[in-house]
Symmetry: C2
Subunit: 343 residues, 2 copies
Amino acid sequence: MAVNLKQLAELLGLSQTTVSRALNGYPEVNAETRQRVLQAVRETGYRPNRAAQRLATGKAYSIGMVMPIAAGIDSDVHFGEFLAGLGEEAVKHDFHFVLNPSAPEDEEATFQRLAASGNVDALFLAYMRANDPRIAMLKSLSMPFVVHGRSIGEARDYPFLDIDNTAAFYDAARLLIQLGHRRIALINGPDYLSFSIRRRKGMARALAEHGLNLDEALVHHSLMTDEHGYRSMQRFLQQPDAPTAVLCSSTVLALGAVRAINQAGLAIGRDISLIAHDDVLPMLKPENFSVPLTTTRSSLRAAGGRIATRLIASILKSGAYPDQELWRAELIVRASTGPAPQK
Amino acid sequence: MAVNLKQLAELLGLSQTTVSRALNGYPEVNAETRQRVLQAVRETGYRPNRAAQRLATGKAYSIGMVMPIAAGIDSDVHFGEFLAGLGEEAVKHDFHFVLNPSAPEDEEATFQRLAASGNVDALFLAYMRANDPRIAMLKSLSMPFVVHGRSIGEARDYPFLDIDNTAAFYDAARLLIQLGHRRIALINGPDYLSFSIRRRKGMARALAEHGLNLDEALVHHSLMTDEHGYRSMQRFLQQPDAPTAVLCSSTVLALGAVRAINQAGLAIGRDISLIAHDDVLPMLKPENFSVPLTTTRSSLRAAGGRIATRLIASILKSGAYPDQELWRAELIVRASTGPAPQK
DNA sequence: ACGGATATCCAAAGCGCTTTGGGAGGAAAA
DNA sequence: TTTTCCTCCCAAAGCGCTTTGGATATCCGT
């Protein structure tokens, strides 16, 4: 059924060379001949065998990523959204992705296998941790890669795209302080991820500038699920000196937090203020919360698109992009933040 | 840096044939020789080039899927969860995935390209629609595939895994009817997807058995987001003869519905009953809703795992699995369902 | 001691493509 | 007319692996 180059060439009475050249846009082929070839391709439905193409050129037209997976590991909404961004860009250049599932402890080895397999010509890395060993590993692979996020405590001499998490949560905390809040809580992502660390740092800095301290009892780290948001908020509210404002690292966490607040009979924006980081997840819009949420916004999907663009450019060696990018999140004030309640 | 078979063979003073055979477990090689080869592999870090391997064997050890993507298309939580299930199973057999992004209108052509590319040796298809043309296309590709869901109005002569959506929503609706509800609404997924059609049918059947009709004004179809759930519920509640019970096709929709109900000052499980279909999304557990949700439950992740198992078995020709599977969703009663309020 | 298994190994072909290094033929230059 | 230079095309090598079809050596029974 499927024709290959050889058959196609025979059919046309041309050599494989000429057909190949015609298809790949080389100049040394007659315009008329090229048209004939193109026509034949349309008629036969010829598709080049990618494996062969790859073997010959070394290019795979694909971006590799490892997908940590285990019985206990939850799928992550944020990941899906990011992938959508990557995909949106990749489809424009006819690139695809190779997802290599891997046990978390095996991730580095999986990256090496992936790189050596010849299946991909660039790698993508995310969920950065402090002192992340994977960066050194990727550097040693001599294959283009881009990191989403940044490590902490390492030279920044690798290509990344990150948002300025420190600034985002600094801005958010400062707004709350200006509104008169003094006891501010933080419902953060996992404590080993660098974005969590930076957000916490940004918040602490804003507090410090106003002579305030970050109270350890008001900081929770957890996976960013509705459930954890709920539990954290509930625990905060049970404390003797409950916070009057909360920062959430995701709208998903905020979802649970809002629930806990409502259940406690408190009014958001009046009794307690809430700011969440908004990754612009389409299924969870801050403006649709019962009380619209004040957020620090930065589109995950856009980040995915940008990373795909850079990765593809580095493979095709087309166009130059900055190696390091730090995006600024936008602070958007809605109804969930109000002046601190008077005691 | 990276060694290939030839170099490895030279290093060992063996032929490529022997080394290849030693690695692939063929019998005609001395046990001692095999050990030497294995040792050398360990020392050199030799990894076979997959592209070459594939070219020679035709096997890619990978499962292909096309990922519909466009500016307007939202990422889907359900997809991520399903993928986790696929991955969990695939990692056990060292399989990977090829995700080919595609414009929605281009999906069929993308499948064909994917199949012809030699990049994958099985395909996976989901989000089935009624009279889905993709099934005939996949059949024509002479490559194993498994469908998640089923089409409607076509011979069922293709491999699929689906849940019995009709039965699930029949059960759910019947429970509500038994509780005395007469006006029951449905917040469903997109109307062109077959699971939506079947759920609606199941609900209609239960109503019909009790002499009731499905009121078109009480049926909404939409993407399964929080926002749509909210809007639908809001509109239902504004109607003169508002429903006393609602079926939701996803806990994500239920999330919005609950918000609308709360906002209207109604009590879930007393003023209005709610049943949602639960895909067992880790970020959204029905038992964590302010009023725990009665659900029809079936794990999407488990479905992903099973499909991966079947796909891999069909590639490796190891073990036989049923070609068609229909899973039964479990009806789990929690606090969100109660007797219909007396007028 | 000899024909025939049996156990190990190897050379070479082939998978489908790209690319190098020409070659034939016609047009332009001498 | 001969030489030079393009233009357009081709044969063949090579990418890294698997696999077919032997080759060689060892060992058996008779």
